[in-house]
Symmetry: C2
Subunit: 610 residues, 2 copies
């Protein structure tokens, strides 16, 4: 069942299905009469990715979940009671005994682990709820959240389990004798029977497994079903105890934390990658689905899913690095400032990070910063694209920031956009300059650098006259005079839109006082992004005189701003009446364009190589 | 011992060391007299990353490797004999028995696993070599390669082991009775004793573990010590059987495949991430180093190293994606062509891939391509930055290419730069257009698109006159005439450098016939990268007339080429004598620059968002 164009992944599953479907070995479990009614020909496969794509093939008939429920209920118990309370009654040690053994770990007085019936019966009584009925609601709701849809109970199987469940009652009484269960043994065993009678499909199991692989977040619904912290314990007991007596060889051959059940289901999770599920009722001597095991082995081999398979190095968490001499902030700089930044800008270093940050990824950053043969004075750590920061990563960030500060270098933070990492970094004890984007951080560092180098342009007092405008500085006095005659003065209060994107080109603007900003709405983000800032002494909108096309960005006055504006008609007049002045202005515009083009080309190259 | 600036990682290790060093529990092993001489105060830690950084703290005294040798010799045996021959004699099932149990797996007639002495003695006899002496050389050389330095044997410990090793002899005779060992039991047990007597430090063990974590490649020396394929089996038996009777709880609490030994060493590997090692001689009741276990638990917790800890999604293997309407090849297009590419270029889609490609990463690509709401006609799959492609990934690429072709879409390949993936992709059965970089692939797709749209510019017959040059098309006839009077004709044979980067600006070049290319030497790469191609009808070097700065790139004639060149002095003459023509030319240049700047800005934005 596919709700999108079938592709090579569907064909891969279909091939695996076809290769395994011919295998008629094994027998359907019959110790519960209702289970014996299962159609032995049934065979379904499911695969769910961590961004919510679900692939299935074969039969997606509902079946009772049976022991495959155990790791998920264990996760709920860990979530509701905390690991200490659970470990108090149920251990995590593998046992050589069969799943339905009537025994407990004498050394510790606990059930061996939550994957054998004894441990599972105790585990079910540990999920949240004041009554057994409330606990069952919690289990049914919890498993439904794992599956991403409301699940039901097969009442016929439940009745059948209850009628024939004396072995589990024996286990429960043994548990009660050890003080692991309370008075109401019958109600507690029935809670477990109902848990086993919940109906699922191979698709459900794939999504449930993918939820574990996805740190407890259902990748289809986005719901955080259990806290991230319970996932490693659950996957560990699945690794060591999930496949009955076949656990060791399963981990060797298939290499996936998994759980199987007597109704023929198997759910397997590859942490950080995917969930895989199979369902076919015929079981081998150890109680695992024959086709399920065969399909898992085949798919693990073909898809390269072994947990311990060396997958090569993780991609480093550093997106790119560059220096402030090649890449600048979007502030339009006057000539002297621009030259200074090109000369000395390498004192500003930018490291853009990406994705989840853990010990290994931040270690790479720390080494790159501390071992850089050309140390910077300002280190911009751009965390805006970071999706997660774990505690180890934070400790390393903390240590790095401290060490840079101690040696007189200035770390500068670009805040993470995602809420989680923003909170983690908000706790950094050290006070740091923090900015919402690299552009602002660069601008701040540039200002510091220009100040340190004594090259920061004086803030203009009053109105910058046309003769002192950067663009007109090299023109003869009479040419500037000719331009001045034809220019008009316009005043904008702070926040006024000077012109909108797409507006007709109405002239070349010289900023006499104040400051404007060009910005752009970024697809998929709420905020607009700054393209450039232009302060007194610089010009914008020069393309109006050159190509006459509509404005490519909007311009907003960020301060009270006064501009000298040369309209296209005025420029035409200049061309007719003072052609030398017009040619001088055109040459100045072409020079400014060529400078910006060279800078843009250099920036593209620097970012490409970064 | 650090050969670089100490940083936060060193401090982290030191903290862990200090927290654990006060623990004086446990006793030094004394069943071999020489081992009892170890200084119980010794305590060293090591951590090695997969790009070869090694951090150590505490004591790096040499000690005999003992049982920590087992997984590494197992790796050598798997490499030399293949998994089938090894599994024939040594299984992979955990056993509840102690490490020196005199028993074998009755069901299979094999030693239980290579981490107990019985299995290890058999394993040692399976490494390559015609004599026991040759086999020992192989073991010593192999372990030295794992450590990245020549290792020695402690002859005193070896003699002591040999003198007191009757229990191991008993095990060996049992193995021989089962047909698992050959005649020379003494020589075979001595091979094992010598293996246990090899001297290492905590630093060595960290590098050895990191070599396993790094798919068999020593991260310090770069040597492929064992094939990638043996790593998962080795790490699996370490996971299930590496820490004696503590294996289950170790995996639950520490979560790292590991091996410990009676001399107090522990080596732990986190696949794809790092190697960790500890050495301190006092052992707990199960035979594991007390401080080693405590330090590993602490570091796993603090560094977030649990194998089954959900580390969030892997970063997708797609670097960026964009369409051919926003990003173009470096070929300078004439106006009609350029307009057509802006209108219809979205029929070309580029997916740039990055890093290791496995099932999960290519699945994301496949879904992105097949589910794209705006299907493209040409799909450029840029594999140039791909570091590895596993078989599952290749099968998906294969399936995707096939499916695109079947539905009349054209996949286009940019070849991987790395040798491994290039070979893997070379085997792709389907004939595909292949290019060395995205730029060439884009140019080819653009040509196909222009052809399909009927907008491909006619190839000029003979020389394109100045009046038909793209830049001069809108100028009045007399202005073109004035320029023509002042231009000179220059001829270049194919391969000639027209001008070098940094050369003085000697004029504006109109290509009358042929084609030139601007290119740039890319840091760290052998080849030069094309910046642009300019064919007949287009111009280059216009900045010479505008800013007079030295050339920013070199230009090479790629075909026999004829240019009309307007030198700066000639342009000055034009400004004096035909100011209207000069102004018209300047306006045309400014327009062309503004168009390029707009395109460059759009490209930066598209690539930034891609």
């Amino acid at each position: 069942m596919v709700d999108r164009t079938p592709g090579p992944i569907d064909r891969l599953l279909e091939e695996a299905w076809a290769l395994v479907a011919g295998n008629d070995e094994g027998v359907v479990a019959d110790y519960i009469p209702e289970l014996a009614k299962a159609d032995p020909a049934t065979f379904g496969l499911g695969l769910a990715t961590l961004d919510g794509a679900v692939y299935t093939t074969g039969d997606l008939v509902p079946f009772t979940i049976q022991s495959v429920s155990k790791p998920f209920v264990y996760a709920l118990a860990l979530a509701d009671r905390g690991p200490a309370a659970v470990l108090d009654r149920v251990g995590a040690e593998p046992t050589g005994d069969p799943f339905n053994t009537i025994s407990l770990d004498q050394a510790s007085g606990r059930a061996f682990n939550p994957m054998v019936n004894a441990g599972a019966i105790v585990t079910a009584t540990l999920v949240g709820g004041d009554t057994r009925a409330e606990q069952f609601d919690r289990i049914l709701d919890g498993l439904s959240s794992f599956a991403g849809r409301p699940l039901d109970v097969d009442e016929a199987v439940y009745a059948s389990e209850r009628d024939t469940g004396d072995r589990n009652r024996a286990i429960a009484y043994l548990m009660r004798s050890a003080g692991l269960l309370d008075e109401d043994v019958d109600a507690q065993v029935e809670l477990y029977f109902r848990q086993c009678s919940i109906l699922v499909t191979a698709r459900d199991l794939a999504v449930m497994a993918a939820t574990l692989a996805n740190a407890g977040v259902n990748p289809v619904t986005g719901e955080q079903v259990v806290p991230r912290s319970v996932v490693a314990p659950v996957l560990t007991v699945m690794s060591t105890c999930g496949m009955y007596d076949y656990a060791g060889e399963w981990l060797y051959r298939v290499g996936l934390p998994a759980k199987s059940g007597v109704s023929g289901g198997i759910a397997a999770a590859l942490p950080g990658q995917l969930g895989l599920a199979a369902h076919s009722p015929r079981l081998d001597a150890r109680g695992n689905s024959v086709r399920g095991v065969a399909a898992a082995e085949l798919l693990s081999e073909r898809l390269g899913l072994h947990l311990l398979r060396p997958n090569g190095r993780p991609r480093p968490g550093v997106r790119r690095t560059y220096r402030g001499d090649a890449v600048h902030s979007k502030r339009t700089r006057q000539r002297g400032e621009a030259a200074c930044l090109e000369d000395a800008g390498s004192a500003i270093a930018v490291h853009e990070l990406l994705g989840d940050q853990s010990f290994v990824s931040v270690e790479v950053l720390v080494r790159a910063v501390l071992a850089d043969p050309v140390p910077a004075r300002w280190w911009i750590l751009d965390l805006s694209r970071v999706s997660r920061i774990d505690l180890a990563a934070r400790a390393l960030f903390d240590g790095l920031v401290q060490q840079l500060q101690d040696s007189g270098q200035q770390p500068v933070l670009v805040e993470p956009r995602a809420r989680g990492p923003r909170e983690v970094m908000g706790q950094l004890s050290t006070a740091l300059p923090r900015f919402p984007d690299v552009d602002r951080a660069l601008e701040w560092c540039e200002a510091e650098l220009l100040l340190a180098e004594g090259r920061r342009a004086e803030l203009a007092e009053g109105l910058v006259p046309l003769a002192e405008q950067d663009l007109l500085r090299d023109l003869p006095v009479d040419a500037v005079g000719a331009i001045e005659q034809r220019a008009v003065t316009r005043v904008f209060t702070a926040g006024t839109v000077v012109f909108e994107e797409g507006a007709p080109a109405d002239g070349l603007y010289f900023v006499g006082a104040g400051e404007v900003m060009a910005d752009l709405r970024v697809r998929g983000q709420r905020d607009r992004r700054r393209l450039s800032s232009v302060a007194a002494g610089s010009a914008f909108g020069e393309l109006a005189l050159v190509d006459g096309r509509p404005r490519s960005t909007r311009i907003v006055a960020v301060e009270p701003t006064i501009c000298h504006v040369l309209a296209p008609e005025a420029f035409e007049g200049l061309r007719r009446e003072a052609p030398e002045a017009a040619a001088g202005l055109l040459l100045a515009i072409a020079r400014s364009l060529s400078q910006r083009l060279r800078a843009s080309t250099a920036e593209v190259a620097a970012l490409e190589e970064a």
